[in-house]
């Protein structure tokens, strides 16, 4: 049986990809951010995932406004990265897991999530940067299932809806009959705003509140509308929806393993959060 071995939230700022390309991990500006991943690497060595389900948002690489799905599930044998237009080095393709993808799609549609399915899907920095951060040598031991959430064009799915999406994905993984150790990722955020006179907006208090509630009471965040989230976290701070979906998928007993939070990376409050997910039955037995 498949097991969800942990949840991970991380920023996916493109500048991180540039910093990796230039080898700036020890540079004083970048070090407080990259050092957080030392703990992530130890944690990954402990939980040993072999599949990563990744909630993220596309920034205009695979999807355009001509056809923009609210929720899209990757079902490809391989996911290529490609030129995003502003100079990030293109990374090697990642191996997919069509079998788990289709199992998740079956589960989601059964649970009334009418998702878009993608047998071809380019993945942008929102998938690539986290993969580079988690496995910097390029030796990721995981196949991936990317799940894109629209955070580009309003109306966006609500906080509650994204949490429920994650819960449905968690249920599907939970009844996957094959042995698998699944890590669930939510990428993006936290607070930031790139556009408008309010560009540069960052809200540490709201980020702290979100990260706190994400551990033990994610339901509390469903009281926020997406306009509230934009007001409190910035226009691109809505990427926290990916974190909500990740958290929803953790159907066991959740505890915080590690958090790193650093302002600023580029225009963003950068965050990393590692969540342990113990099967409820194991806890009851103990």
């Amino acid at each position: 049986m498949a097991e969800i071995v942990g949840g991970l939230g991380t920023s996916h700022i493109p500048g991180i990809g540039n910093a990796i390309a230039k080898g700036l991990q020890q540079d004083p500006y970048w070090k407080p951010f990259f050092d957080g991943f030392i703990e992530a690497h130890k944690w990954l060595a402990r939980i040993k995932p072999d599949i990563a389900v990744i909630f993220y948002n596309d920034h205009g690489l695979n999807f355009f406004l001509d056809k923009l799905p609210t929720f899209a599930v990757g079902a490809a044998p391989e996911y290529s990265n490609a030129d995003e237009g502003w100079g990030l080095p293109v990374q090697r393709p990642y191996k997919g897991n069509p079998d788990l993808s289709w199992h998740i799609i079956e589960g989601l549609v059964h649970d009334e999530f009418d998702v878009t399915t993608c047998q071809e899907m380019l993945v942008d920095h929102a998938v690539v940067v986290p993969m580079q951060l988690l496995w910097p040598k390029g030796d990721a031991p995981v196949t991936i299932v990317p799940i894109a959430i629209n955070t580009v064009q309003h109306p966006l799915p609500s906080v509650a809806r994204c949490l429920k999406l994650g819960q449905a994905v968690g249920r599907a993984i939970g009844n996957y009959k094959k042995g698998a150790r699944v890590l669930v990722l939510g990428t993006g955020g936290l607070s930031h705003q790139l556009d408008g006179q309010r560009a540069g907006f960052i809200n540490k208090d709201f980020d702290m509140l979100c990260m706190d509630k994400l551990v033990n009471d994610p339901q509390a965040l469903t009281s926020y509308s997406n306009d509230d989230v934009v007001r409190l976290a910035g226009t691109q701070g809505v990427e926290v929806l990916n974190w909500l979906a990740m958290r929803g998928a953790l159907t066991g007993q959740v505890s915080k393993a590690f958090v790193n939070y650093h302002i600023p990376i580029s225009n963003t409050a950068a965050a990393l959060m590692l969540l342990d997910n113990q099967p409820k039955t194991a806890r009851q037995a103990a």
Partner: protein, 114 residues
């Protein structure tokens, strides 16, 4: 400028998405190096090919980000145009807030100390 009642913020909704479609479609095309080169070679012709509205064409000519947003541009697509022009997100931030890039960066650092 406000939208959805959030100061200094435009929510990119159906109204903006319709208004900005041609501009965003042109910017989306900049994922291709060949298209970026074509834009740089003949900006007028490239904008005409995508049917930019007059406010959109003027906004592109002005390199003014607030004007590009007012013309319906979405920042994720505009970032690809900015890339052609050699501008990063901090340059965009500085321009939109009327600050120098150094002052904008200092403001971000300050947010971390609060």
């Amino acid at each position: 400028m406000t939208s959805h009642g959030i100061p200094g913020t435009t929510i990119f909704d159906g109204v903006e998405a319709q208004k900005g479609y041609a501009l965003n479609k042109m910017c989306f095309s900049f994922n291709s190096a060949e298209n970026r080169a074509a834009f740089l070679k003949d900006e007028d012709a490239y904008c005409a090919k995508y049917g930019l509205t007059r406010p959109q064409r003027e906004a592109v000519a002005s390199r003014n980000v607030l004007q590009l947003i007012a013309a319906g541009g979405n920042v994720y697509y505009l970032a690809k145009l900015a890339g052609i022009l050699g501008l990063g997100v901090q340059d965009l931030g500085a321009q939109q807030t009327g600050m120098t890039v150094d002052a904008f960066k200092a403001k971000l650092l300050e947010a971390g100390k609060a």
